[in-house]
C-alpha cells in the first residue's frame, strides 16, 4: 500500500530526555487519521515533525515521497496548533489576510478565500472585530479557518476541540468530514476517546511508543473489549494502566 505520509523508526529526544522511542506510521491519502494518547505521550512532537518544524533525532518522514522538512510540502499543509497562535490586536480579517499572504495566495483569490474560510467556521459576521473581543471558542474556529485558507492537501490539527462546547465540536467534526470527502488527508490528535471513534484509523501513543494501530473497530476486536478506552488499557497493559485511566 502506498501511503501519503510515512514515518520510519522515528526517535527523538529533547535534552537527553527521550520523547519518541520508535515510531513507525503509514497514513494513506484521504484518511482521517487519529493520534490518540494521554498528554506527554509524544503526540505534539510527532505533529511538529509532520509539519516540518522539527527534524527527528533519528528516522525519516516522507510526505508524498518527499523527505520532510521541505518548504514545498509545507506549502500544502494546513496546521492548527494546540494553542491559538493569533494576533489579538488585529481583526479576524487582518489575521486571515496575513496568513493568506504568507501562503502566497494570489491577490485576486484572497478575498474569496477569506470569505469562504470564515463562513466554514461561522465567523462571517465577526470578520472585522479584533480578536481581543473573541471568546475562546471563536479563536479556536479562527485557527481552523487559517488552517483551511490555502486549500491544503493535508490538514494537521493538534487537539482541535480542546475547550470547545459540544455543539461547536460537532460542527468542527462535520467540517473535517466534508474536507475529507474533497480528498484532504487529515491528521488529528486527541486524548478524548469518543472523538477517536470518529477517525478511520488510529495510532495509540503511550510514553513515546505506538502501542497499537488500526481502525477503532479493529482495535476493539483485537483487544476483545467494548470501548476504545478499554482497548487502550489492554494495549497499554503494564503497570501504570490502572493509575492513569480507570
Amino acid at each position: 500500500m502506498s501511503s501519503f505520509i510515512t514515518m520510519e523508526s522515528i526517535q527523538h529526544s529533547y535534552n537527553k530526555e527521550v520523547v519518541l522511542k520508535n515510531v513507525n506510521l503509514a497514513i494513506p491519502e484521504g484518511q482521517l487519521f487519529g493520534l490518540l494518547g494521554p498528554s506527554g505521550s509524544g503526540k505534539t512532537t510527532l505533529v511538529k515533525m509532520m509539519i516540518g518544524l522539527l527534524t527527528p533525532s533519528n528516522g525519516i518522514i516522507h510526505i508524498e515521497n518527499e523527505q520532510m522538512p521541505s518548504f514545498h510540502q509545507m506549502q500544502k499543509i494546513g496546521y492548527m496548533a494546540q494553542s491559538d497562535a493569533l494576533y489579538n490586536e488585529l481583526t479576524a480579517r487582518e489575521n486571515l489576510l496575513f496568513f493568506a499572504s504568507l501562503y502566497k495566495i494570489p491577490k485576486k483569490l484572497r478575498k474569496q478565500r477569506i470569505t469562504e474560510a470564515a463562513s466554514l467556521v461561522n465567523l462571517t459576521e465577526h470578520l472585522d472585530k479584533t480578536l481581543e473581543k473573541f471568546s475562546g471558542g471563536m479563536k479556536r474556529r479562527m485557527s481552523l479557518a487559517i488552517a483551511l485558507l490555502h486549500h491544503p492537501k493535508v490538514l494537521i490539527l493538534d487537539e482541535p476541540t480542546v475547550g470547545i462546547d459540544p455543539v461547536l465540536r460537532a460542527s468542527i467534526w462535520e467540517e473535517l468530514r466534508n474536507k475529507q470527502k474533497q480528498g484532504t488527508t487529515i491528521i488529528v490528535t486527541t486524548h478524548v476517546m469518543d472523538e477517536a471513534e470518529k477517525c478511520d484509523n488510529l495510532a495509540l501513543l503511550r510514553d513515546g511508543y505506538v502501542i497499537a494501530q488500526g481502525s477503532p473497530d479493529d482495535l476493539k476486536a483485537k483487544s476483545e473489549t467494548q470501548s476504545l478506552e478499554h482497548a487502550f488499557l489492554h494495549f497499554g497493559g503494564g503497570s501504570h494502566a490502572n493509575s492513569s485511566n480507570h
Binding site: 509545507m74 506549502q75 497562535a85 489579538n88 496575513f98
Partner: protein
C-alpha cells in the same frame, strides 16, 4: 511578498498599541526635557562670606558675579556650616585665606573661578589671555556636551526594549511557531521585523533629534540629516540586538533583565563620563555599539563633522547590525531546523 506581509502586519499591530507608540515617541522627549532642566543650568553664582578684605578685592569679586556677605569670623563659620555660603575669604596679616564649603563641585569651581579672575583683575601686570574655541564655545554647558550622547542612548534604549519585547511576544504567544509552520524563510521573519519597525524608528529618530535641536536648543554645529542617519543606524543596531537577545529570554521580565547587563554599562563607556585617560577602560567601550554611535553624534553635533568624518563609526554600526541579524537567523533554528 511575504516580507511585505510581515511589515504590514507589524505596522497595523503597532498602530493599535497606543501605549507602546507613546513609549517610543513621547517618553524619550519627556526624559530629554527633564535632563535639559537638570543639566542646562545658567552659571552658578557663588556666595562668598568675607571678613575685612581690601575694598578693591571686594569690588573685583562682585564684578565677577559673586554674592558677597560681610560677616565676622564666627558668623562665617555658621554660614559655611549651614550651606548659606560657598566659601569664606579672610585676610590674616595681609595673607588671603580661602575656606571652601566643599561639598558641591560646581560651587567650588565657581568660587575658584571668581577668586582667580578677581586676583588677575587686581594685578595689572598679568598678561591678558585671549581664549578662542576650535569647537563649541565658552557657553557649552553640561547638557550640550552630554546631550548628543544621550540622544543616542535614548534611541538605543527604547528601540531595544520595544523591538525585543515584540519579538519575544511572537514566541510566547505561539505565533512564531505558527509562522514557521508556513513556508516562510527564517531570514524573511528577521528582515520583515527590521523593516516593519524601521519605519517607526525613522519617525522616532526625527522626533527626538528635532526636539533636542530645535526646541531644547542643544548645541548643534553639524547637519541635521547626518544626526538623523546616525540615530537611525544606532536604532537599527538596537533593534537587531533586542530581537536577537529576546531569543534568550523566557518572558518579558527576563527581557527587562537585559537592561542592567546590556544597556546600562554602555552608558558608562559611551562618553558621558571622561574615561579617555585609562586605556584599558576605553577598550571595554570598543565592544559596545553605543560607543560608536555616541562618538559619531558628538563629532557631528559639537565638532560640526560631516559623514566623511564619522564613516568609521558608520561602518562599525552596520557591521554590528549585520552580525546581530545573522546570529538571529541562526538562533531561529532552535524553532525550526529548516
Amino acid at each position: 511578498m511575504r516580507i511585505q506581509a510581515i511589515i504590514k502586519r507589524i505596522i497595523r499591530q503597532f498602530l493599535r498599541d497606543k501605549r507602546s507608540i507613546a513609549l517610543m515617541m513621547i517618553a524619550p522627549l519627556l526624559v530629554m526635557t527633564l535632563l535639559w532642566l537638570v543639566l542646562d543650568i545658567e552659571d552658578y553664582t557663588p556666595a562668598i562670606a568675607v571678613t575685612d578684605i581690601p575694598e578693591p578685592m571686594q569690588g573685583a569679586l562682585e564684578e565677577q558675579g559673586a554674592t558677597i556677605l560681610e560677616v565676622d569670623a564666627h558668623r562665617a563659620g555658621t554660614l559655611l556650616e549651614n550651606d548659606d555660603a560657598d566659601a569664606y575669604l579672610s585676610f590674616e596679616n595681609n595673607q588671603p585665606e580661602l575656606t571652601m564649603e566643599g561639598s558641591k563641585p560646581t560651587a567650588t569651581s565657581a568660587v575658584q573661578n571668581a577668586v582667580s579672575s578677581a586676583v588677575k583683575q587686581l594685578n595689572p601686570n598679568a598678561p591678558d589671555l585671549d581664549v578662542s574655541f576650535l569647537h563649541g564655545s565658552s557657553d557649552l554647558n553640561l547638557f550640550d556636551n552630554t546631550g548628543s550622547v544621550l540622544i543616542g542612548f535614548f534611541v538605543f534604549f527604547f528601540v531595544f526594549i520595544i523591538g525585543g519585547v515584540s519579538f519575544l511576544r511572537e514566541r510566547t504567544q505561539g505565533t512564531l511557531e505558527r509562522l514557521l509552520a508556513t513556508p516562510l524563510r527564517r531570514w524573511e521573519i528577521v528582515i520583515g521585523y527590521l523593516l516593519g519597525f524601521g519605519i517607526f524608528i525613522i519617525i522616532q529618530s526625527i522626533i527626538i533629534a528635532a526636539f533636542s535641536i530645535y526646541v531644547l536648543d542643544i548645541y548643534m554645529a553639524g547637519s541635521f540629516v547626518s544626526v538623523l542617519l546616525m540615530a537611525f543606524l544606532l536604532a537599527m543596531t538596537a533593534l537587531s540586538l533586542g530581537t536577537l537577545l529576546s531569543a534568550y529570554a523566557k518572558n518579558e521580565f527576563q527581557m527587562i533583565q537585559f537592561i542592567p547587563i546590556i544597556i546600562v554599562p554602555q552608558v558608562f563607556f559611551s562618553g558621558v563620563f571622561p574615561i579617555e585617560s585609562v586605556e584599558w577602560i576605553s577598550a571595554i567601550g570598543q565592544i559596545m555599539p553605543l560607543t560608536y554611535g555616541a562618538e559619531a553624534l558628538k563629532e557631528i553635533m559639537i565638532r560640526g563633522g560631516g559623514l566623511a568624518e564619522v564613516s568609521g563609526d558608520i561602518g562599525v554600526l552596520i557591521g554590528f547590525s549585520a552580525a546581530f541579524i545573522i546570529l538571529n537567523i541562526i538562533a531561529l533554528k532552535r524553532h525550526r531546523t529548516l
